[in-house]
């Protein structure tokens, strides 16, 4: 009788590719820098940080369509039934072996991307109360509208802070309860699997059009959609 040795089958395999990891950690750094630069009144740096966020967001959305399975939205966005089923499994100590974002984590990814997009777009049209500091598209709207965009820009940031706290709480939950180190996986790109999921990753050349597209859009926006 042959028995399959689980230790022999278990593998440390790649799950997150470089572009996905770079996008994630760039957003962490840029979010922090945007926050700090706004708080200290360094609005020129704040704007540049925002343009960088736009660049990362555009690339990440592009990658969500042409990247590998774990990066694609079609790879992790699931319907309500799957989300509920996964939520029910959270009580146990076991953690599913499927690679990439789980259905619940997927909601968090979408929420953060959506609120981040709101954050940058409102910033583009915002003006401060003194009419001195403003986004590159603020001249397209009047003062009162610009002030409204500024208000939404502030409320949206509060929502972003809440999402970040939830995100960190979830990661802590996985570490403590499920004994799954998600931070390590997002840094090294690898994690232990019961058996190698046999993931295929995207060819490197696909990064290039995304970077060009992202840089072009961010540059165009920074010039107030003028050439």
């Amino acid at each position: 009788m042959t028995t399959v040795d689980p230790v022999a089958r278990a593998a440390r395999a790649k799950v997150w590719d470089v572009p996905t990891r770079v996008c994630h950690w760039l957003l962490v750094a840029l979010l922090g820098f945007s926050w700090w630069s706004a708080e200290t009144g360094a609005l020129e740096w704040h704007r540049w940080s925002g343009y960088a966020v736009i660049e990362v967001l555009v690339f990440r959305i592009y990658w969500g369509f042409v990247g590998p399975a774990t990066a694609r939205f079609s790879g992790f966005v699931r319907g309500p039934a799957a989300v509920l089923a996964y939520a029910k499994s959270l009580g146990g100590r076991a953690s599913p072996d499927e690679p990439g974002h789980n259905p619940l984590g997927a909601l968090s990814v979408l929420a953060i991307l959506l609120v981040l997009t709101t954050q940058v777009v409102t910033g583009l049209f915002a003006v401060d109360v003194d009419g001195i500091e403003s986004g590159p598209l603020s001249d397209r709207v009047d003062f009162d509208t610009g002030r409204l965009f500024a208000d939404i820009h502030h409320w949206s940031f509060t929502i972003l802070q809440i999402l970040v706290v939830l995100h960190l709480a979830a990661i802590a939950f996985y570490l403590i309860r499920k004994r799954r180190n998600l931070v390590g996986a997002m840094i090294t790109g690898r994690r232990r699997f019961e058996s190698d999921p046999g993931l295929v990753f995207a060819p490197a050349w696909r990064i290039v059009p995304g970077v060009i597209l992202a840089a072009a859009i961010a540059a165009w926006v920074s010039k107030g959609l003028r050439f």
């Binding site: 009419g131 001195i132 003062f143 107030g224």
Partner: protein, 158 residues
């Protein structure tokens, strides 16, 4: 006059005196509130004008007449600014006011900040008349920083 009438007369006089004091106090408050409200309108005009100026300067070819007009408005308002802060026109007169008590307790400091604005706004007015847009953009930024310098010290941080 009957004793009761005297009593009523005294009461009436006391009430009248009390009302006069209260009414006088209310009138004094409303002068402070009037000043605070007018100041708020003036500052809002300043903010709108600054936005209008900066919007124009964002263009590749800003219109000189527009720039001159806005620079002139800012210069005029900057000149008036020190008169917008009579004693008693702070938060006590208008609760929504963001004017910090330091404006009156550090009158010298406030005066200096207001003078800095007058200098920069005056410079902006001159540079605008000359028509060099690059120079105007630089001076608009400098004027904005003069506003910021005063705000950091004397305006409530939200």
């Amino acid at each position: 006059m009957a004793f009761e009438d005297l009593g009523r007369l005294t009461l009436g006089a006391a009430l009248a005196a009390g009302l006069a004091v209260a009414g006088g106090g209310a009138l004094a408050q409303s002068a402070g509130a009037k000043a605070a409200n007018m100041r708020h309108e003036k500052f809002e005009t300043m903010g709108r004008t600054f936005k209008a100026l900066n919007d124009e300067l964002k263009k590749d070819a800003p219109g000189k007449a527009v720039v001159v007009r806005h620079a002139a408005t800012i210069n005029t308002l900057a000149g008036q600014l020190p008169t917008w802060f009579p004693k008693g026109s702070g938060k006590e007169a208008r609760p929504k006011s963001e004017a910090l008590p330091a404006i009156w307790s550090d009158a010298a400091g406030f005066s200096a900040a207001a003078a800095t604005l007058r200098t920069e706004a005056g410079q902006l007015n001159q540079v605008a008349a000359a028509g060099d847009m690059a120079a105007i953009r630089i001076q608009a930024k400098a004027t904005g920083q003069a506003c910021g310098g005063c705000h950091r010290q004397f305006r409530e941080k939200k």
